[in-house]
């Protein structure tokens, strides 16, 4: 009975004082006991309408105006009102300080769970994982968004909503192809960005000279110079190429391209680390809250509510069950981190054979390394154990359009473990999700046309709306745009093109 005096609270309702108490208790465990390295936290309590707003602006606290965010808002609102979709308990933003939104409707145990999950789990992941460290600037993103929002609305005033919308539509269509995967982007800074944009505009204005227009057209260009191939190397970042080389964009349109590109860059790591990020956060809320319970700081009722919710989050349905929605990243990620800990603490013979380097090692160090140095693809390839393949009863199906049937490729048995693991890991690879398209040629000296190359991945054609994206690209480019599809041997399979007339 004397233990009861340790409880931080009893009852369901939260107050700001209690949130502070819980945050302190959780911090003590997360940071002091388990050594998580976090950005400072900024915890914001919001109402459900505000949560819907936050959903619509892709989770950022502020974003520029665009109809597609309105569409997202309407569809979330609609399914929420109908009860088809609950709202997330929280949204957390990769920023420094790390901003987390908590819903006011949550009960106290839920708030504690969310604080542990978002403010210490996701937060430490954002701060530690190499992708986030290299590709995002947590301390600049919010400022940058303010800059972007102001810039877009300024453009709307100067050039009209329709014109801005058309440009943004085109950029959004190419968003995923606005990422440079192999070199780190320059750090973001709203102030620099504003300055740079002003300078560019000003220098363009100063260099403008009516005289140039009176020059007679060159006549002998064509025969004299052998046109050089440009760019020398194919460019994977299509939006970057457009921003730098499009022959027809106005300066403000280039800036819009840049804004969308920077945003795509910022979100790129999130798409690559879904399993790890959610798994990490889930593992930590589970571990931290259990520790809180072990220290008798919370009671049984509290823990039961937390566990109910936790169990729902990590439920994985079988492929043929009702409500199956793919592999649940929370379930897989949580299971993998828990499993790594198990391998460290209580390895079996099988684990020793599969994971000789980590079996029996210090679990905190191993987990920390895994979190810092991997992304979903490599994480699964490295750490998915036979035990988990059995637990999830994973199996792979081969689907070859050339054959009238599907074939079970491999299952959770001795012969299949490695293959299932490799196939699952490629499923999280960017190539598995997005077609491989890059800028091949810009005919600078003659037609100014742009040629892209789509390299087919195992014979997969481009999806149905490919042509529409090409229209958008053409709108940004202003001259003919061509998309060559080549098969794995480099043979051209088909060519689609959009001319400047259409």
């Amino acid at each position: 009975m004397s233990d009861a005096t340790n409880f931080l609270s009893d009852g369901q309702d939260w107050t700001f004082e209690l949130l502070t108490d819980y945050d302190r208790a959780i911090r003590q465990i997360a940071v002091d006991e388990f050594g998580l390295d976090c950005y400072p936290n900024q915890i914001e309590v919001i109402a459900s309408e505000q949560m819907l707003d936050a959903y619509a602006s892709v989770g950022l606290p502020i974003s520029y105006h665009h109809w597609s965010f309105g569409k997202a808002f309407i569809s979330h609102e609609q399914s929420y009102r109908r009860g088809a979709q609950g709202l997330a308990y929280e949204i957390v933003i990769n920023s420094d300080p790390c901003i987390a939104y908590l819903m006011e409707e949550n009960s106290l145990p839920m708030q504690a769970l969310v604080i542990a999950h978002a403010c210490y789990g996701h937060n430490s992941f954002f701060k530690g994982n190499y992708l986030f460290r290299q590709w995002t600037d947590a301390d600049a993103i919010v400022d940058y968004m303010v800059f972007a929002r102001n810039y877009v609305s300024e453009c709307e005033e100067r050039f009209g909503i329709e014109a801005v919308e058309a440009t943004l539509d085109a950029c959004h269509a190419l968003q995923e192809f606005g990422v440079s995967r192999y070199h780190r982007p320059a750090p973001l800074s709203a102030a620099d960005e504003l300055l740079r944009q002003r300078e560019r505009e000003e220098s363009a204005r100063q260099r403008h000279d009516e005289l140039w227009r009176t020059l007679p057209a060159a006549t002998d260009v064509d025969d004299a110079v052998e046109p050089r191939v440009f760019p020398e190397e194919p460019e994977e970042n299509i939006l970057y190429f457009i921003e730098k080389h499009s022959p027809s964009l106005a300066p403000w349109q280039r800036e819009l391209v840049r804004i969308v590109r920077k945003l795509a860059q910022y979100f790129y790591p999130q798409g690559q680390t879904k399993v790890m990020n959610e798994g990490w956060a889930t593992f930590w809320h589970y571990t931290i809250l259990n520790r809180l319970y072990d220290k008798r700081q919370v009671g049984d009722g509290f823990m039961l509510e937390v566990l109910t919710s936790h169990t729902n989050v990590v439920a994985q349905r079988g492929f043929d069950e009702r409500g199956y929605g793919g592999i649940n990243p929370y379930a897989l990620g949580f299971a993998m981190f828990t499993d790594i800990r198990r391998i460290c603490e209580a390895p079996t013979d099988e684990d020793r054979e599969w994971f000789p380097t980590i079996a029996g090692s210090d679990w905190r160090e191993t987990l920390d390394t895994a979190m810092r140095q991997y992304k979903d693809e490599s994480f699964i390839n490295q750490f998915l154990s036979p035990k988990l393949i059995r637990d999830f009863r994973l199996f792979a199906i081969g689907d070859d359009a050339g054959r009238p049937f599907l074939e079970v490729d491999s299952i959770h048995n001795e012969a299949g473990y490695r293959r299932v693991r490799r196939l699952l890991s490629t499923q999280y690879d960017r190539d598995g999700l997005l077609p491989d398209i890059e800028v091949l040629r810009f005919d600078r000296d003659r037609s100014r046309s742009l040629t892209l190359r789509h390299r087919q991945h195992r014979g997969k054609p481009l999806g149905g709306e490919g042509k529409k994206v090409l229209w958008h690209l053409q709108r940004l480019w202003g001259f003919d745009v061509k998309l060559e599809t080549v098969d794995e041997n480099g043979e051209v399979v088909s060519v689609a093109s959009v001319g400047s007339g259409g």
Partner: protein, 472 residues
């Protein structure tokens, strides 16, 4: 350390701008969806707003993705009976891409995008770019209706109008005014009395707290500042004179103690809330000009008008009513039904009661004319007429009706619409419509309606915005 911020009071409607952009962009589709719904459902339901669907294909945001075909492997959980090498039938109607995690392809091209419109949005689209012909809103005649307006605060009123905030401001001001000086003096004396020179901060602090509170209150509304400070000055005078009286008595040693007593009881006597603190929200009646309209619904209910035709007529009348309600603050409706004889009835009777008899159109027109003259003088009412009939009229009736409409009714009307309801397109013109066809007046319009779905287009046609010509 973590910072916890309460953002619940921040702006809630951040997405309104984006939503409005969406609506603007897809206006055409939304309007089409709205007019399709009118064919399906009762118009009264529509007036409450509701859900509309637009094809998802129209609003898709194209992206480059892998298409179907080629080779791929999909890893799935929950294997029960499969062994490697098993061959399965390819599931139909389901893309192979489903396994690629959350590829985001699942938006579904065939599904419609459904969303809710508020009543106002709905009506906005519903009646978009429709305009009332000859809208000279007759505000003339200075038609006024009493309306309540806020007019500050008063000292007396009904308890329901009590303004708590304002009352507490007054009470606070009064308390400071009446006890502030005494409190200060009290603090001073207590300080003196404490020989070890420990300053008694408490009471001083109490006074300061109260004063700080007061400043906040007063800041909230500068207008009351003058009141409070004037009151306070008054009170301070009285307090000081009291001090002076007491000072006479206080030359002795225990005078201080006495004074302390007196001060304490004086402070205690100041009530927390007094009757003079009470403030009530004041509302006054002011006459407001209103524009009002009356709509005459005329319908032939002779035997040839079956339920279907009545339904068509009703839909038309309802549309007209909704439309007028948007333009005028008050709209009255007069229902007149007729066979060979006309009578004014209520809505229920108008649409659902049966009556048998012949058809004399003129009777309804005459009755309308009478009612107009008795109750709705044209200088203070905007008068609209709508007539629905199957067009059967006999003998001299159609011709006399035409003359009556043209010469007696139209001069006093804003607009008169005649709707002929017939179940299938009839080859030849009905007797009434051929007579009406000769009316040449821009305030008169006639159309034929055969099906439910015609109603809205016909309505739009009648009222689509056009350059307004001022009636002669």
């Amino acid at each position: 350390m973590s910072v916890i911020i309460d953002r619940r009071l921040n702006e809630r409607n951040k997405s309104a701008g984006n939503r409005a952009r969406f609506m603007r962009r897809y206006k055409k589709q939304i309007r089409r969806a709205v007019s399709e719904r009118i064919g399906e459902r009762s118009i009264r339901d529509m007036a409450t707003g509701g859900e509309v669907e637009i094809p998802a294909g129209d609003i898709s945001e194209p992206r480059w993705r892998h298409g179907e075909g080629g080779e791929r492997e999909i890893v799935l959980p929950g294997n029960r009976e499969f062994e490697s090498g098993d061959r399965l039938k390819r599931p139909q109607g389901q893309g192979g891409g489903g396994g690629s995690g959350d590829g985001g392809e699942g938006d579904g091209d065939e599904d419609n995008f459904t969303f809710a419109l508020s009543r106002d949005e709905f009506m906005e689209i519903f009646f978009d770019d429709l305009e009332l012909p000859h809208l000279l809103r007759t505000e003339a005649g200075d038609i006024t209706e009493p309306a309540y307006e806020r007019a500050g605060y008063t000292r007396d009123g009904a308890p329901v109008n009590l303004s708590v905030v304002r009352t507490m401001q007054q009470a606070l001001g009064r308390r400071i005014a009446l006890s502030g000086a005494a409190r200060r003096r009290l603090a001073e004396l207590e300080r003196l009395q404490a020989s070890d020179a420990v300053v008694d901060v408490e009471s001083d602090a109490a006074v300061r707290d109260i004063a700080a509170d007061a400043v906040e209150w007063v800041d909230a509304d500068k207008s009351s500042f003058a009141d409070v400070s004037a009151d306070a000055a008054d009170a301070e005078d009285t307090a000081e004179s009291a001090d002076a009286d007491e000072a006479d008595v206080a030359a002795l040693d225990d005078a201080t103690t006495n004074e302390l007593e007196a001060l304490r009881s004086r402070i205690a006597r100041v009530p927390f809330l007094d009757e003079i603190d009470l403030r009530y929200r004041h509302r006054v009646q002011v006459p407001k000009p209103v524009s009002r309209a009356v709509m005459f619904c005329l319908m032939d209910v002779s035997a040839s008008m079956d339920e279907h035709r009545k339904d068509l007529a009703k839909r038309f009348f309802t549309l007209l009513f909704l439309f007028l309600s948007r333009k005028y603050e008050r709209v009255e409706i007069i229902f007149i039904r007729h066979t060979d004889d006309a009578e004014e009835v209520d809505e229920q009777t108008f649409f659902h009661d049966r009556k048998t008899g012949g058809t004399v159109v003129l009777s309804a027109l005459t009755l309308m004319h009478e009612i107009m003259h008795e109750r709705f003088p044209a200088d203070s009412w905007n008068i609209y007429g709508a007539q629905a009939s199957d067009g059967d009229a006999f003998g001299v009736d159609p011709e006399r009706s035409r003359v009556f409409v043209e010469e007696s009714l139209l001069p006093g009307l804003r607009h008169f619409a005649y709707i002929e309801v017939c179940e299938r397109p009839e080859r030849h013109r009905s007797t009434l419509s051929s007579a009406y066809a000769r009316i040449d007046d821009e305030r008169f319009a006639m159309r034929e309606v055969n099906e439910r779905r015609d109603i809205y287009p016909v309505f739009r046609e009648l009222f689509s915005a056009r350059p307004t010509r001022v009636p002669a």
